[in-house]
Symmetry: C2
Subunit: 114 residues, 2 copies
DNA sequence: CAGAATCCCAATTGATACTG
DNA sequence: CAGTATCAATTGGGATTCTG
């Protein structure tokens, strides 16, 4: 907790890791998708309905990236009409507390963020 | 710590706060500037030397935003040649542990982030 | 030294239409 | 239903030039 904590967010592993994370989740929709899936599996259309403003294209891309990064699992059922369900991976769930902590920090320290 | 923690990162204050924060710090240079200033006040040119690849334009813009958001203080000394020093505000310092925590999470959960 | 102004390119996002 | 394809609009960022 001391002020002297060594912060090595430049040039080191920490810096690259943080950049890799932000590159994956800091865009316009990713965190919204993760948050929307936090307590339930959802189908494509349900996700789109719960996330106001997202286009099919962006939701599709976001889910593809999340699936590739192993933060979301995609389950396709061989039915007609097709049904596909998305769900957070355990890995993604461990990220949620950090997101909440950051949101909390923001509400306390950034004006108009409340 | 339970799985049932209420995560309200959608539509609520939390969601807007998190978005406001990411809009301010998730770009290419902001966190690098914050990290570079974590233990010392620095002048414009020193910052540019310590952050490889940053252009004058982007460093200038980034510092202006950080100053406006009260994460960095700008002190100008009336000398010739001019001297300007930048320093983290106490507010910005409280953000650093969160950044470190996220970097740590990333190193454990994102392949190639190490 | 510390920047502001200008121009240009690349990447991100959105709107719309179409398909298995 | 769950996407993909295409194109237009917007934004982020870099290179260069100029200035108090």
């Amino acid at each position: 907790m001391s002020d002297g904590d060594d912060v090595c967010l430049i040039r080191g592993d920490q810096g690259r890791a943080l950049r890799a994370l932000l590159d994956r989740i800091a865009d316009k929709w990713t965190l919204l998708v993760i948050a929307t899936l936090h307590d339930r599996r959802l189908r494509f259309t349900e996700l789109q309905r719960r996330i106001p403003g997202v286009s099919q294209r962006m939701l599709s891309r976001t889910l593809a990236h999340l699936t590739r990064d192993d933060l979301v699992t995609r389950t396709s059922y061989p039915e007609v009409p097709p049904r596909v369900e998305y769900e957070l991976t355990p890995t993604a769930r461990t990220l949620l507390p950090h997101a909440v902590a950051l949101a909390d920090w923001s509400r306390h320290h950034i004006p108009d963020a409340e």
